[in-house]
């Protein structure tokens, strides 16, 4: 279970918004996080605290394939991204690096900046502590669940390699 403060974003947040291309000269998550949302929401990196959650609209993470985007969010300590929908590559990158994401349009709509949300992944339940609203989301399909519960694709691969 995680509990975090909500930062609200709109539709079609692209990977250039999350981390502008000019900073892609490093692979360090902490370094990347310093420029997270730099042009889109200046000061976000200062405002965001460890454990915080992002609630966004449609097509979150569209644009380039840069894994630096979910890594910048992870580096910042973001514990989960809730959105109405995700862009495909962002979605797989988040899963592959072990950043939890939840597709839940009602919750994404129902949460406002500064709300506190409680997320129970196993139960597929989101709870907005400010409003008292509860939202259900579909747990990950079995295949993805195995990757996520391993902590990402490489850890999944290692686990598999050990079993063989």
């Amino acid at each position: 279970m995680i509990t975090g403060k909500v930062h609200k974003f709109g539709d079609n947040i692209n990977t250039d918004d999350i981390i502008p291309a000019t900073y892609l000269v490093t692979t360090d998550e902490k370094e990347l996080s310093k420029h997270c949302f730099e042009t889109h929401s200046p000061g976000f990196n200062k405002k965001a605290e460890k454990g915080d959650v992002i609630a966004a609209g449609e097509n979150f993470g569209c644009g380039s394939s840069r894994e630096h985007a979910p890594r910048a969010l992870k580096g910042l300590g973001i514990s989960c991204v809730i959105a109405k929908s995700f862009a495909r590559i962002f979605c797989r990158n988040a899963i592959n690096i072990g950043l939890p994401i939840i597709e839940c349009p009602d919750a994404a709509d129902g949460m406002d900046e500064g709300n506190t949300v409680e997320i129970k992944f196993e139960e597929g339940m989101l709870y907005n502590k400010r409003t008292g609203d509860r939202y259900r989301f579909t747990p990950y399909p079995e295949f993805l669940h195995r990757i996520i519960s391993a902590g990402g694709l490489m850890k999944y691969a290692r686990r598999k390699a050990k079993n063989v």
Partner: protein
């Protein structure tokens, strides 16, 4: 029940059998690529995993094209890291600075074939659907996993069929067809789906234009884009080098294949298009725009930096001069394209018109280098994305169009339809 070309290719790469949309598969990869931005992260994961060797040294391309020739110390370090890794592991396809932009380069080298499954740590990897491959963009961790295992996990997509009827209007190319399509369906209109392009228009379309269309499928949220290989594809493949061990496979969709949606367009309705800031779906016909002054024009990128694109631009620029308030930057997509442009006299035409010809690089397309915008500046580019700050300052603006509109507008100093520009005379303005 019939299968789409996308289902057939995926099935052939995971042991055969019918696979339904929505199913998760672990598929064999025929080829994979990463670039100077995404490879370093993949290499970091590869090494953290403790992998000793790559699954196949001849099925990986590492392309140094984004911030190259290195724009600063950090990018030089990134390139060095990739170079060292490639040499250590004997990677056959290390394409160094200036060889070309990945998605223009790999098809030209014969490395993307029909029926293959290709992944790339770059979102525009969907470009190779133009030759009838299943190709899709993935992340760096996917690339690391594939470098080790030769595999990728995929969710089988549903397909949307796009049929283009009729004849193309003058100055209309693949860029306009795809911009029009994205304008119609939106930036997530093909979300998670395969876009299958067909119809008389596509059958007659040049490979250059097909690449442009497939390239931008990701701007509609698509997973991949695919065009059935035909005689145009076959002619094209005759010209590219044969690669040992790579044969490709011609697949066609069954007549009773199931589609999520079928969308039809009449090409007569489609005129040269411009995508206004800050979304590739924000399109308008060029003829409806007036008095949009521009500071810079960029003709190049993996979308429109092929020889056909440069020829079109040169045809318009020949004997004309670039407007005194405009900087025109032309970037041939690969070294081979650059050489052809030189031999055909196109480079001379560009320079005489007042343009700047850059070596092949992604450069300004992603706001990297070689033409970054200042605050308040406006660029008209043949690239594929016009997000906020994509090519420079967050308060600069990016407009997207085809090479003809770009060249004509560079002469006029404002966004214009090419028909008003006469060869060898700027008086027609």
């Amino acid at each position: 029940m019939g299968l789409t070309i996308t289902q057939k290719i995926l099935s052939a790469h995971c042991g055969g059998g019918e696979i339904e949309p929505g199913a998760f598969i672990m598929a064999e990869v025929d080829f994979l690529l990463a670039n100077d931005i995404t490879a370093p992260l993949a290499i970091k994961e590869f090494e953290a995993f403790g992998a000793q060797k790559v699954f196949d040294t001849s099925r990986i391309a590492l392309v140094l094209d984004h911030f190259t020739p290195a724009r600063d110390i950090e990018s030089a370090q990134q390139c060095k890291l990739v170079r060292d890794f490639a040499r250590k592991h004997n990677i056959r396809y290390l394409f160094q600075e200036g060889k070309g932009i990945e998605h223009a380069l790999l098809p030209e080298e014969g490395l993307t074939l029909p029926g293959e499954l290709i992944i790339g740590a770059d979102s525009h990897t969907c470009t190779y659907g133009a030759v009838g491959a299943f190709s899709t963009g993935v992340g760096s961790t996917d690339a690391a996993f594939a470098m080790i295992e030769g595999k990728v996990w995929l969710k089988v997509p549903e397909s949307i069929k796009f049929i283009y009827h009729g004849e193309l209007n003058p100055w209309v190319s693949g860029k306009d067809l795809i911009l029009y399509t994205i304008g119609d369906i939106g930036v997530n209109g093909a979300g998670y789906c395969a876009m299958e392009l067909c119809g008389e228009v596509i059958e007659k379309l040049s490979m250059d234009s097909r690449f442009t269309m497939a390239n931008m499928a990701i701007e509609a949220g698509a997973k991949n884009c695919v065009i059935e290989p035909d005689t145009v594809t076959a002619e094209y493949l005759k010209e590219v080098p044969a690669v040992e061990g790579r044969y490709g496979l011609n697949c066609k969709s069954d007549v009773d294949a199931v589609y999520k949606q079928v969308i039809e367009y009449d090409a007569a309705e489609i005129h040269p298009q411009v995508a206004l800031p800050s979304s590739p779906a924000n399109v308008k016909p060029a003829s409806e725009l007036s008095s949009i002054n521009i500071d810079q024009v960029v003709i190049g990128s993996c979308t429109n930096g092929r020889i056909g694109d440069l020829r079109t631009a040169a045809e318009i620029l020949k004997g004309n001069k670039v407007h005194e308030y405009v900087r025109l930057i032309i970037i041939p997509g690969t070294e081979k394209i650059y050489l052809r442009a030189l031999r055909e006299g196109l480079v001379e035409t560009f320079i005489e018109a007042g343009g700047i010809v850059s070596p092949p690089t992604c450069g300004p397309c992603l706001g990297g280098h070689m033409g970054i915008l200042a605050k308040g500046e406006r660029v008209l580019a043949t690239t594929n994305r016009n997000f906020v700050g994509r090519m420079g300052h967050p308060e600069s603006e990016v407009y997207l169009c085809n090479p003809a509109v770009a060249a004509a507008s560079a002469i006029k100093g404002e966004i214009t339809h090419p028909e008003g520009i006469q060869r060898g005379s700027s008086l027609a303005l």
